[in-house]
């Protein structure tokens, strides 16, 4: 087994003003310091396990209320209120006792997203603390962390942290004298983006192909191993620790109404200082790109920005001032998604970028639903034809007709995810597609984005 990684990574985790009252640091304490992970450091320096101690003295339903008060919405993609999701879990009755499971989604597959790994690398105990609190609130018997297969070294680190927590009595039997038993198991995936979707993840956890399930039944009724389960993202669960520590109401004061708290944004693409930045929800996109990430590289202008991971429709220049919270981004026609901000400068070929994204979805479609399996492949083939300089103008209408036939017609939202970039690119950058078709060449000057030779 490989040792715990000792090579420092070169991500940026901070920006001027981070850690002040305006930009509180709740999720990235000690990020960048490889010696930050042990329990000792977490407890001595970062107020570790205080939230858990508080929660275990409360009634489980009061913990759920506290999380509801905080208003935290899921950080994995859909932005569903976490407290509400937890309250869907069935409670024991005199007639019926349930086995409940908590599942942490650490698949981190969405292109442009690289935040969960930071929590697991530097603050694994914060995730464990959050999971213990969530497990107590829902009275779960066992927790699973589903980690993407590539993160082997993070799994080993998490195992080491879990062992520390067991030794301290935070996991295992009769946790801190409550009489409640809970443990956490790591589960390693094997390379499939679709396994980030919650029901596909459950199938993968059970040892099956990662194919999404028909809903209903929802996981709260019939989830992992047929038992009631709740699936939350790493960041959502880790945020529960500070929520309990500082109180739901104090957390709700951060960010904006209905979009409370801080979240981790990962900024990548053509920026000077790509990195991971924790900001209150509602921070404007141009602040994130210009102040935190140092602006677009080479003094160029941004052409398009994907605000929340590759599945979200692209923004063009008129939306760069968008406040980054779930509702504002949705009102502008995109999604806050997983917080992965991808910046493309003015020399980027949108046709190539779209083709690269659609190729990803065509490859990752699990193949169960015809609209997604065939539709994504067709979109890829049509785009490839345009990119190769053999497109026809009718192709653009064909693409525009295809997307509504995929979106909302599939078991899971992967089809919709593919349509987001496609529709937005076509709407906002139609001139580039037309130029490719009529001239057989590209307007953009940037280097190619595709590993395959093309018209460029």
């Amino acid at each position: 087994m490989a040792a715990i990684r000792t090579k420092p990574d070169r991500h940026l985790y901070t920006f001027p003003g981070f850690g002040s009252e305006k930009f509180p640091n709740l999720m990235l304490r000690g990020a960048g310091d490889l010696d930050n992970w042990p329990r000792r450091v977490y407890e001595q320096k970062h107020e570790g396990y205080l939230g858990m101690r508080k929660a275990l003295k409360m009634d489980p339903s009061a913990v759920i209320e506290e999380v509801k008060t905080s208003g935290i919405r899921g950080r994995g993609g859909a932005g569903f209120p976490a407290g509400l999701k937890w309250s869907f879990m069935p409670k024991d009755t005199p007639e019926r006792k349930f086995t409940r499971y908590l599942v942490c989604n650490a698949d981190e597959g969405e292109p442009g997203t690289f935040k969960d790994r930071v929590i697991m690398e530097y603050n694994p105990h914060q995730l464990i603390e959050g999971m213990v609190i969530a497990g107590w609130a829902m009275q779960c018997q066992l927790g699973f962390v589903y980690v993407r297969g590539e993160f082997l070294w993070l799994i080993e680190k998490m195992e080491a942290a879990l062992q520390e927590a067991r030794d301290a009595g935070y996991l295992g039997k009769d946790i801190l004298g409550t009489g409640w038993n809970f443990d956490i198991l790591m589960h390693r995936g094997a390379g499939a983006y679709i396994c980030g979707e919650e029901t596909a993840l459950l199938n993968s956890l059970e040892g099956r192909r990662g194919e999404p399930r028909v809903k209903p039944p929802f996981p709260a009724a019939k989830g992992a191993f047929g038992q009631p389960s709740t699936i939350n993202n790493v960041e959502t669960l880790a945020a529960v620790a500070p929520i309990l520590r500082m109180g739901g109401a104090a957390y709700a004061n951060l960010g904006r109404p209905k979009n409370t708290g801080t979240r981790i944004f990962g900024v990548s693409g053509h920026v000077n200082r790509p990195g991971v930045f924790e900001l209150p929800l509602g921070t404007p996109l141009d602040f994130i790109v210009n102040e935190c990430a140092g602006g677009v590289r080479g003094g160029k202008k941004a052409k398009a920005i994907i605000p929340g991971g590759s599945s979200c429709p692209m923004f063009d220049a008129k939306d760069f001032d968008c406040p980054m919270d779930f509702d504002s981004v949705r009102d502008r026609g995109s999604m806050a998604g997983s917080g992965g901000v991808i910046v493309m400068d003015e020399d980027t070929c949108i046709v190539q970028a779209t083709l690269r994204l659609i190729r990803f979805y065509a490859h990752e479609s699990c193949g169960q639903c015809t609209p997604c399996r065939e539709g994504c492949n067709w979109m890829q083939m049509i785009l490839q034809r345009i990119e190769d300089g053999q497109g026809r103008l009718e192709d653009l209408d064909l693409l525009a007709q295809l997307t509504p036939r995929i979106g909302l017609r599939t078991l899971c939202p992967l089809g919709d995810a593919a349509c987001g970039p496609m529709e937005s690119a076509l709407k906002k950058f139609r001139d580039e597609f037309e130029h490719h078709i009529t001239h057989g060449t590209c307007l953009a000057k940037g280097p190619g984005l595709l590993a395959r030779a093309s018209a460029h």
């Binding site: 990574d9 590539e150 094997a190 390379g191 499939a192 956890l205 059970e206 990548s268 970028a353």
Partner: protein
């Protein structure tokens, strides 16, 4: 997902290098079997051990051959069809032999914006292999184009085997990585 038919190990010529002897095997070692049983007992249902068991089989066999799938099915008492279905669904189970040093280059959007496509081409030319193709004649190198590795902020991102994970990779760094492989600093595939 790609669904290629796995080659049967028995019919493969004796190629790449060291792992050859291993990939002609049909059975899991007793240690691997014990490991699989231990993992299976942790879950509420034994089937949940399918993915971990396939990872173990890949380590033992060098790649997930048909024989490896059958061995996993036998170890867990599951239908062979189930294990075959799972093994062919996930991309991290290599269905054909890879080199001793298997380079996985992300060419998804953030990496592509930072020059992953030319980087992949240069790496292939440098190692004399095709992306996704068979390993080099000496069995040492293979290259695969992969989707987002969650290193987008430090793109382009390249992973070698399972534990070396490098970021901000450029041509110079590729050379360093290749040299580190040649010096034996990285753990070879399936070890």
């Amino acid at each position: 997902m790609s669904h290629p038919l796995p080659p049967d190990t028995g019919e493969l010529p004796l190629a790449p290098g060291q792992r050859l002897l291993e990939s002609s095997r049909k059975e899991l070692s007793p240690e691997a079997l014990a490991e699989i049983q231990a993992i299976a007992s942790r879950y509420p249902d034994r089937m949940a051990a399918t993915l971990p068991a396939l990872h173990i089989a890949q380590r033992e066999f060098g790649f997930v051959s048909l024989a490896a799938m059958k061995a996993v099915a036998k170890a867990l008492g599951l239908p062979e069809g189930h294990v075959f279905g799972v093994a062919t669904f996930y991309t991290m189970y290599q269905k054909k032999p890879v080199g001793q040093y298997h380079f996985q280059v992300c060419t998804n959007i953030s990496c592509a914006l930072n020059g992953a496509a030319p980087l992949l081409q240069k790496l292939c030319a440098r190692l004399g292999v095709e992306a996704g193709g068979p390993p080099s004649a000496d069995g040492k190198w293979s290259v695969e184009e992969v989707e987002c590795l969650a290193g987008c902020g430090t793109a382009p991102c390249v992973q070698v085997n399972h534990d070396v994970y490098d970021e901000f990779v450029d041509e110079k760094m590729l050379e360093e990585m290749i040299a580190a492989c040649q010096r034996g600093e990285y753990r070879p595939w399936a070890h």
